[in-house]
C-alpha cells in the first residue's frame, strides 16, 4: 500500500478532480432495474416496520414524551452505545458492528443524495455536486475504515455464536443474518477494488482496504476490461444482498435497532418506580394488571421487539442464579412469542400461522405463577439491559393480574391480608408500633411538632425483634448528635412498598393515601428512614400519591453527622473485631444510587480516614458484586413474606459470596437484608456477625447500649 502523507493528500485534493463516478460502470437499464428492486426492498422494509408499529400501537398510551430528553437519550444510549456493562467481547463487537453499520448507512445515504441532486441539477456523472475533493477524500477514508469495524464486529459475533457458550440465543436465523452481513461487507470491498482498477480511481490509497483488494486482483492478472465485467456482476450480487437485507431487517432480530431506539428514548429510566393504575379505570373496566398483551403500554410492547435475547438479564438475575423457575429473558421472549402468534388487540402479527396458540392466559399460563412470584424486583435485569427493556416491569404488571384474580396463597397472602387489616405485614397491633423504643425517650410528632427530621421507622424495625436494634441505634445516634427529630409512632403505617411490588396496587394506594394524609397533617418535609424500601417508596412511589418529601437514607444522614463531627470521637478500640465487608441493598444502590455514604459510615467505624488511623484501621473488604452490580439478598419484591427455607431462597448465592469474603462482620443497611443475610449466614457461618451500619456506628462511637450485655441482646420490650 503506498503511503499518502496528509500534505500530498491536500495537494492532490486541490489540484486533481478527486472523485469517483456514482453508478460508474452501471448502464442506464441496470440503474433503472436497481431502483425498481430498491423500491421493492424499501417497500418491504417499510411494510415490515409498519406491521410491528401497528402491533405496538394496540397497547395503552405510554404517557407524554419529553422530546428533548428523548433526543438526549438517543444520543447517549443509542448513538454512543452508552448502556453496555459487562461482557467486554460482545460489547466491543456490538460497538464495532453498530458504528460500522451506522457510518456506512450514512455514507450510502449521502451517495444517494448526491446522485439524486446531480440528476435534478442535470449534471453529468463526471461532475458531482459535492461528492468530490476533500469531502470525497475524507468520505472514502472514513467509510473504508468503518467497513473494517463493521466486518470485525460481525465476525466477532459469528465466532461467539458458533462457539456456542453463553446464555444468548443461538438460532439459525441469527447465524444466517451475520453471514449475510459479512458477505455484504466483503463483496463491498471486492466491488470497490474492482472499481479502482476499472475506473482507474485517483488516489486509491484513500480506500485502504479497497486498494488492497485491487492490488490482489491486479496481481492475479485481472486487467481493466476484466475488472469491468467482474465489477458489473459482483456489483449486482452486492446490491441484491444489501437490498435483500433491507427487506428482511424488520422481520429479523434486527428490528431491535428501531424498537430499541424507540424504547430507550421513551422508557421510564427510574428503576424504583412503577406505573400507577387509576382506580377509576379499574372500576370502569373491572380489570387490573395485564391480562392480555394490549394491557401493556405501547412502550412495553415496543420493548418486546427490542429484546435480542442476549441473556444479560438472565446472567444478572438472582432468582435464576438460585434455580428458581425465572429467567427474565424467557419472560420477555415468551411474550414476544405470544405477540407473534396471537397478535395484539385483534391486530394480527401476520405470521405464517404455523405456530400453534397454546390458548393459555399470560399470567399463570404462558408465564407460570411460580415464575412471576420468584422475582425480587431487584431491578438487575432492567438495569443491565442495553436496550432498556424491563422484564421486572412486565412481571409486576402480570402480578397485578394474579392479585386481582385471587391467585396468591399461603404466607405472602397472609402478609398482604395483615397489611390490609392493620397496616403492617406482621399483623401486629398498630398500638404496639413504638414498643421498640422502650426506655429511649423517642419523641412523637405530636409531642415535638417543631421537629426538623421525621424518622420513618418502618414495620420491620417496629415489630421484628432483630430489626428493632437498628431503630434503637439510629435513635441513640440522632440523640447524641442533637438532631431535632420525631417519629409518627402508632400513626405510621406500612408504606405499601412490598404490596405494590407484589402487584397489590390498590392496597398500596390505600396505604399511600393514609400516609400522605398523616405526613401532611404533621407537615413532614425532611424524612430519614433506615429501610431502603421505605426510602424508595417515599421517594419514588409517593409523588404519584401526591406526597413530595426530601427523603434520605440513614446512611446519608449518619455520614453527614460523621463528616460534620457531630458524633463523639471514635474510641481507640473499635466495636468490630476483624475485617468488615458491605452488602449493597438493591433498592439503595441500584434503584437510588446511594453507594458511597454507607461506605463512609463504615470507614468511620473501621477507624479509616478519621484521626484514628494510627490506632490501626480495620480492613474493609469489597464483595465481588458491589454497588450498582450488587446481588439481591432475596427479600425484595415481597419475597420477604414467602416461606422459603434459607437454602431455597433467592439470595443464597449472595450469602455464599458474603461468607466467602472471609470478613468477620458483614454490614448491611436494610432490615430485609439484615434478616435474609442474617438467616443465611447463621446457617453457613454462625461466627460471622451481620449488622446494620447504624448498629456498628452507634457501638463504635457511643459504646454498647447500656444494660445490654452484648450486641446480640434484644431490647427489653
Amino acid at each position: 500500500m503506498p503511503s499518502v502523507s496528509p500534505a500530498e493528500l491536500m495537494l492532490a485534493a486541490a489540484s486533481q478532480p478527486l472523485m469517483r463516478e456514482v453508478f460508474g460502470n452501471i448502464p442506464g437499464w441496470a440503474k433503472g432495474l436497481f431502483y425498481v428492486v430498491a423500491a421493492v426492498a424499501v417497500g418491504a422494509w417499510a411494510y415490515g416496520i409498519y406491521r410491528r408499529v401497528r402491533l405496538w400501537r394496540q397497547g395503552k398510551p405510554s404517557g407524554g414524551v419529553n422530546y428533548a430528553a428523548a433526543l438526549k437519550r438517543v444520543v447517549r444510549d443509542v448513538l454512543l452505545q452508552g448502556r453496555f456493562r459487562g461482557r467486554p467481547f460482545a460489547s466491543l463487537a456490538h460497538v464495532l458492528l453498530f458504528s460500522g453499520f451506522f457510518v456506512l448507512l450514512i455514507g450510502t445515504t449521502l451517495v444517494a443524495i448526491e446522485h439524486i441532486l446531480a440528476d435534478l441539477l442535470g449534471r453529468p456523472a463526471s461532475d458531482p455536486v459535492f461528492h468530490k475533493g476533500l469531502y470525497y477524500a475524507v468520505y472514502e477514508l472514513v467509510t473504508d475504515s468503518f467497513g473494517v469495524a463493521f466486518l470485525v464486529g460481525c465476525t466477532m459475533f459469528l465466532v461467539r455464536r458458533l462457539r456456542g457458550a453463553g446464555s444468548f440465543a443461538k438460532t439459525p436465523a441469527d447465524v444466517g443474518m451475520l453471514v449475510l452481513l459479512i458477505v455484504i461487507g466483503v463483496t463491498g470491498y471486492v466491488v470497490e477494488g474492482l472499481r479502482i482498477i476499472h475506473a482507474a480511481t485517483p488516489l486509491p490509497g484513500l480506500s485502504p482496504v479497497g486498494y488492497v483488494t485491487a492490488s490482489l486482483f491486479t496481481a492475479a492478472g485481472v486487467d481493466q476490461a476484466g475488472a469491468g465485467r467482474l465489477h458489473f456482476a459482483l456489483w449486482w450480487f452486492h446490491a441484491a444482498l444489501a437490498l435483500g437485507f433491507i427487506a428482511w431487517m424488520p422481520y429479523s432480530r434486527l428490528i431491535h435497532s428501531l424498537a430499541g431506539a424507540i424504547n430507550l428514548a421513551i422508557r421510564n429510566e427510574r428503576l424504583g418506580t412503577l406505573r400507577p393504575i387509576s382506580m377509576a379505570e379499574v372500576e370502569e373496566t373491572g380489570l387490573i394488571g395485564v391480562a392480555k398483551l394490549e394491557d401493556f403500554t405501547r412502550q412495553q410492547l415496543a420493548s418486546l421487539d427490542a429484546c435480542v435475547s442476549c441473556g444479560r438479564c438472565q446472567d444478572m438475575c438472582p432468582a435464576f442464579e438460585a434455580g428458581k423457575p425465572l429467567s427474565p429473558r424467557n419472560v420477555v421472549q415468551e411474550l414476544v412469542g405470544v405477540m407473534n402468534v396471537r397478535g395484539v388487540g385483534g391486530q394480527s402479527a401476520g405470521g405464517s400461522g404455523q405456530e400453534k396458540d397454546s390458548g393459555l392466559p399470560l399470567a399463570g399460563g404462558v408465564i407460570g405463577e411460580e415464575t412471576l412470584w420468584s422475582c425480587t424486583t431487584c431491578g438487575a435485569c432492567a438495569d443491565v439491559c442495553p436496550l432498556g427493556v424491563s422484564p421486572m416491569g412486565m412481571i409486576t404488571d402480570l402480578r397485578r393480574f394474579l392479585i386481582g384474580d385471587g391467585a396468591l396463597r399461603g404466607s405472602p397472602a397472609t402478609a398482604l391480608q395483615k397489611t390490609d387489616r392493620v397496616g403492617n405485614p406482621f399483623g401486629l397491633p398498630q398500638k404496639e408500633r413504638l414498643a421498640w423504643a422502650a426506655g429511649l425517650d423517642v419523641p412523637l410528632v405530636k409531642d415535638n411538632p417543631e421537629y426538623e427530621v421525621l424518622y420513618w421507622v418502618g414495620c420491620a424495625a417496629a415489630y421484628d425483634r432483630r430489626a428493632q436494634k437498628i431503630a434503637r441505634s439510629v435513635v441513640r445516634l440522632l440523640q447524641a448528635a442533637d438532631v431535632n427529630f420525631a417519629v409518627l409512632g402508632p400513626e405510621e403505617r406500612c408504606t405499601g412498598e412490598s404490596a405494590r411490588r407484589m402487584g397489590d396496587e390498590l392496597l398500596f394506594q390505600q396505604l399511600a393515601e393514609q400516609n400522605v394524609a398523616t405526613l401532611g397533617e404533621h407537615r413532614a418535609k425532611r424524612i430519614v428512614a433506615h429501610c431502603p424500601h421505605c426510602v424508595n417508596s417515599l421517594r419514588n412511589d409517593y409523588p404519584q400519591a401526591g406526597g413530595e418529601y426530601e427523603v434520605v437514607h440513614h446512611s446519608q444522614l449518619l455520614s453527614e453527622l460523621v463528616a460534620d463531627g457531630k458524633l463523639p470521637a471514635m474510641p481507640t478500640t473499635t466495636a468490630v473485631g476483624g475485617s468488615i465487608t458491605y452488602h449493597d441493598p438493591c433498592y439503595l444502590a441500584r434503584a437510588n444510587g446511594i453507594t458511597e455514604e454507607p461506605r463512609a459510615v463504615l470507614a468511620a467505624v473501621a477507624g479509616q480516614g478519621g484521626g484514628n488511623a494510627d490506632a490501626g484501621a480495620l480492613p474493609i473488604i469489597e464483595l465481588p458484586r458491589n454497588r450498582r452490580e450488587t446481588s439481591c439478598c432475596g427479600g425484595g419484591g415481597g419475597r420477604m413474606w414467602f416461606d422459603d427455607a434459607p437454602s431455597q431462597r433467592v439470595g443464597r448465592g449472595r450469602v455464599e459470596e458474603i461468607v466467602g469474603s472471609g470478613a468477620a462482620t458483614v454490614a448491611v443497611s436494610c432490615p430485609f437484608c439484615l434478616m435474609m443475610v442474617g438467616d443465611g449466614v447463621a446457617a453457613e457461618k454462625p461466627t460471622m456477625q451481620v449488622r446494620d451500619i447504624a448498629e456498628l456506628l452507634a457501638e463504635a462511637t457511643l459504646g454498647p447500649e447500656s444494660g445490654a450485655a452484648n450486641g446480640n441482646t434484644p431490647p427489653s420490650a
Binding site: L408, V422, P429, A709
Partner: protein, 251 residues
C-alpha cells in the same frame, strides 16, 4: 352441584383482644374482623371443587350478622363464591340457633353439600356443623383434611387423634373442615372490586320465621394477662442444666 358455605365473622386473632370494662363483651372498637379461618378453608375448598367441575355449579356463602358483615361476604365473593346471602340479625347467637337459622337457608337453597369450618376461632364451640347435620338429618363428616367428590357421594378423610379416618357419605351431607384441607387464596381489594357485581342477598331474620331459643347464656367476659418470661443464658450447658431442673421440678 351447589355448595353452601356458612361463614362467621370473627375478630383478628393477631390483635390484643380485651373484654369491655363491664365484661359484657369484646372491646371491638378498631378491632379488625376477618372471615373465620376454618370457614375460609371451606370457601377455598368449595371454590376449588366448583372450578374443577367447570360447569354451572355454584358456591353460596352465608353469613349471619349486622350490616358490617357484608365486608366479609365480599371477601367470600372475591375468593370465588358465586353469590352470598346475609341473614340480618343483631342479636348474639349460640351454635344451636345458628344451626336452626342455617337449616332454613339449606331448605330454601337445597344444596348438595354444606361445607363449613369445624369451629370458629372466637368461641371455639365446634358445634354448629354437628347441630345442622342433626337438624337436617343429613350425614356428617367433621374435621375433614381431604375431600373427594364421587358420583352422588363424597369421600372424606377425617383428622382424628389416632390418625386419618376415611368416610364415604351419600349427598347431601354436612362436612366441617380442618386446617390442612386447603390454603385459602388472597382476596385483594382488586378482587373484591371485581366481585362487586356478584349477587349479595340480604334476608331479614323475621323472614325466616325462626323463633330464637337461646340455650347458652354468656355471663361475663374477662381479659387474661399473659406474662412473657424470658431469660438470657450464657451457654448451652447452662441451658441444659436449667431444662433439667425445670423438668425435675415439674415431675
Amino acid at each position: 352441584m351447589k355448595i353452601l358455605v356458612p361463614t362467621k365473622r370473627v375478630p383478628d386473632t393477631d390483635q390484643k383482644i380485651t373484654a369491655t370494662a363491664d365484661g359484657s363483651g369484646v372491646a371491638s372498637d378498631h378491632l379488625p374482623f376477618v372471615v373465620n379461618p376454618f370457614d375460609a378453608i371451606a370457601l377455598e375448598e368449595g371454590v376449588r371443587i366448583v372450578e374443577k367441575l367447570g360447569d354451572d355449579s355454584e358456591v353460596v356463602a352465608v353469613g349471619i350478622g349486622e350490616a358490617d358483615y357484608v365486608q366479609q361476604l365480599r371477601t367470600a365473593l372475591a375468593m370465588g363464591s358465586t353469590r352470598a346471602i346475609c341473614i340480618e340479625c343483631d342479636q348474639p347467637l349460640d351454635p344451636w340457633n345458628v344451626a336452626r337459622l342455617l337449616k332454613e337457608i339449606v331448605l330454601r337453597e337445597q344444596p348438595d353439600l354444606v361445607l363449613m369450618g369445624k369451629q370458629a376461632v372466637d368461641d371455639d364451640a365446634n358445634q354448629t356443623g354437628q347441630f345442622l347435620a342433626a337438624l337436617l338429618d343429613w350425614p356428617q363428616a367433621t374435621f375433614a383434611s381431604r375431600v373427594e367428590l364421587l358420583a352422588g357421594e363424597i369421600r372424606v378423610d377425617r383428622e382424628t387423634d389416632h390418625g386419618i379416618e376415611t368416610l364415604r357419605l351419600p349427598l347431601p351431607a354436612v362436612v366441617t373442615t380442618d386446617l390442612r384441607l386447603s390454603e385459602p387464596r388472597y382476596a385483594s381489594m382488586a378482587g373484591i372490586m371485581k366481585a362487586k357485581k356478584k349477587p349479595l342477598d340480604m334476608i331479614p331474620l323475621a323472614e325466616l320465621g325462626v323463633a330464637l331459643e337461646p340455650r347458652v347464656e354468656v355471663l361475663r367476659y374477662h381479659s387474661s394477662e399473659t406474662v412473657r418470661r424470658g431469660e438470657r443464658l450464657r451457654s448451652v450447658d447452662e441451658l441444659v442444666e436449667r431444662l433439667r431442673q425445670d423438668v425435675g421440678a415439674q415431675a
